[in-house]
């Protein structure tokens, strides 16, 4: 699961100056025809760099995304929830594996990406820097954070890079389980005992702002890069994704008798766009830059996992093995 938005840095388009215009024209024609770009095709350096960064950040978001819900993996109530949550968190790890593999076809080894993650050089989705206080938080994440991720991922699956699209197709198929499971949990909480309802409402209140942050800053203040749109690297704007999410899920939250902590929230019947209180983007920036409630813990856990697993990897690494980039 992933909230993209504009956590990517702005590309420097002047790097294009050094590229062969004939090759660029053929490359752009292929994308315009709707064909995918494959690892062995020629591509501009800017395209390669931008994709590595984007897919890598997506992969980091999956592996870090396993942690907030993982908070409840040993405490899931009953067999059905226990099995489902184990499988769901496992899927997040699986998604990271698929995405790192897709990024690896572009020439960055997986361990180099993981190194950048644990050293704090590379970003991941901000939403995972928040704590899951109760079981209800894990229900919120499974349903609504995943729902937001699906909005993003379905858009990206129509992009131009073959290995990324194929990974996303697989991921989206698995996300349908996450979404249904999450909704199932929330329905049970909201229609359950007064304690359950209260837990669920409190989780929504805690997670609403991070959820609004999830899609990234509003289009009017985030940088647009025409060229990434043309190359089908970035497929939908932050506001489009946010609006689509609100359209699909606000009614589903309200029908459960739950409330959303934003008095301004409503759909404008004339424009079809949602009106809402702008979340605090200073908080967003602060958390992205490392000062959220769980940033330190999330990275420390990944670092520890790396450290504790190192002897296994090192014992079995063969010095004579031939490393090449994966094929597709």
């Amino acid at each position: 699961m992933y909230g993209g938005g504009s956590i990517f840095e702005t590309p420097k388009t002047d790097t294009l100056k050094n590229e062969d215009p004939v090759k660029i024209a053929a490359f752009e024609a292929r994308i315009a025809r709707g064909e995918k770009i494959e690892p062995n095709d020629w591509m501009p350096e800017l395209y390669r760099k931008q994709l590595i960064r984007m897919i890598e950040q997506h992969a980091h978001s999956e592996i870090i995304g396993a942690l907030p819900e993982g908070t409840w993996i040993t405490r899931a109530p009953g067999f059905k929830r226990k099995l489902a949550l184990m499988a769901k968190v496992q899927d997040e790890v699986g998604h990271a594996q698929l995405l790192y593999s897709a990024a690896e076809t572009l020439g960055k080894p997986r361990e180099a990406m993981i190194e950048d993650l644990i050293n704090g050089k590379s970003k991941y989705s901000n939403v995972f820097n928040y704590p899951a206080f109760t079981w209800a938080d894990s229900c919120f994440i499974s349903w609504l954070v995943d729902a937001g991720a699906i909005v993003n991922q379905l858009a990206n699956a129509k992009g131009s890079y073959g290995p990324y699209c194929r990974a996303l197709d697989r991921i989206c198929a698995e996300e349908s389980f996450h979404l249904k499971y999450g909704h199932h949990c929330v329905i049970h909480m909201a229609t359950g005992t007064p304690i359950q309802r209260k837990m669920m409402q409190e989780a929504i209140n805690r997670w609403w702002e991070p959820m609004m942050h999830f899609f990234g800053p509003p289009d009017k203040i985030s940088v647009h890069t025409e060229i990434l749109m043309n190359w089908k690297v970035k497929m939908a704007s932050n506001d489009e994704c946010r609006n689509q999410f609100l359209d699909m899920y606000v009614p589903k939250i309200l029908e459960l008798g739950l409330t959303i902590p934003d008095p301004e929230l409503r759909k404008d019947p004339d424009t079809g766009q949602w009106v809402y209180t702008e979340p605090d983007w200073e908080v967003f920036k602060k958390v992205i830059n490392g000062d959220g409630p769980c940033n330190a813990e999330r990275l420390a856990v990944r670092r520890t996992a790396e450290e504790r697993g190192r002897w296994v990897r090192q014992a079995l690494t063969r010095p004579d093995s031939i490393y090449v980039m994966p094929l597709a």
């Binding site: 109530p77 499988a87 790890v93 790192y100 909480m189 014992a315």
Partner: protein, 251 residues
């Protein structure tokens, strides 16, 4: 067939599977590499799934429903061996436990496939494919790490030495052994233990690891009769933390 004997057999198997599955799920999201994180999680899910099948069978025999049985009992009501409740430790220990346990578990299921108690024989036939994978997985890791570097061999040996007396405790005989054997339900823990020793010795002999002498080792027993280490009750409290907020609620 004596129901008491059958229930004892089902309970100890189910409790072993649940507790080990729960323990191994602690690695999910924190494994030594992404692919292994996924494989280990699947096997933990398989284990919890197996326990559910066993608790359902017990439910058919008049016991409480699986959720109540799994989430509401106190440690001294659990029949799992002490081996499975030990903390996950470092990966070497978790792997070694998986290796030792699943070699026996596969043989147990192969034996039970011929059980006179039909629900059990059907379940065993169906599920043994999963255990075959568990054994394949364990064997690959043990053979490699047991032959690789000084560090990996030392770690695996240390874990083997520590785990072995506990693993012997898996086969603590039940008071109903004779009745189970007589009725054709199960061939008995002693028989299983011999097959297990043979099976895992074969793999360990392909490594640098030295198997402790089974005759000289004192098996750690007691789990089958509700005597547990200090680790089980906290595990159960954690597992049931949400469930017990309101056991009558639907979560």
């Amino acid at each position: 067939m004596k129901q008491e004997a059958l229930k004892e057999l089902l309970y100890k198997m189910a409790d072993d599977q649940l507790i080990l599955g729960h323990r191994n799920s602690e690695w999910t999201g924190m494994g030594p590499l992404l692919e292994e994180d996924i494989a280990f999680s699947s096997m933990a899910q398989d284990k919890v799934g197996h326990s559910l099948v066993m608790y359902q069978m017990l439910h058919q025999l008049g016991e409480n429903d699986p959720d109540t049985v799994a989430f509401m009992r106190h440690a001294d009501q659990f029949h799992n061996c002490q081996f499975v409740e030990l903390p996950i430790g470092e990966y070497d220990f978790s792997l070694m436990r998986h290796f030792l346990f699943d070699h026996g578990e596969l043989i147990r299921f192969e034996l039970l496939a011929g059980s006179s108690y039909e629900p059990l024989s059907l379940a065993a036939k169906k599920l043994k494919g999963e255990l075959r994978y568990h054994k394949m997985h364990a064997d690959v890791f043990i053979k490699k790490l047991g032959n690789a570097t000084e560090e990996s061999i030392t770690r695996m040996q240390r874990s083997l030495d520590y785990a072995f007396p506990f693993a012997m405790g898996i086969y603590e005989p039940s008071p109903f052994e004779e009745s189970l054997i007589e009725d054709g339900v199960f061939k008995g823990e002693n028989h299983l233990k011999d097959l297990w020793l043979e099976s895992m010795t074969k793999v360990l002999n392909e490594t640098e690891l030295k198997i402790p002498d089974p005759e000289a080792v004192k098996p750690v027993v007691g789990g089958r009769t509700g005597k547990h280490t200090e680790h089980l009750q906290p595990l159960l409290d954690e597992m049931a933390e949400v469930f017990r907020v309101d056991p009558t609620a639907e979560w």
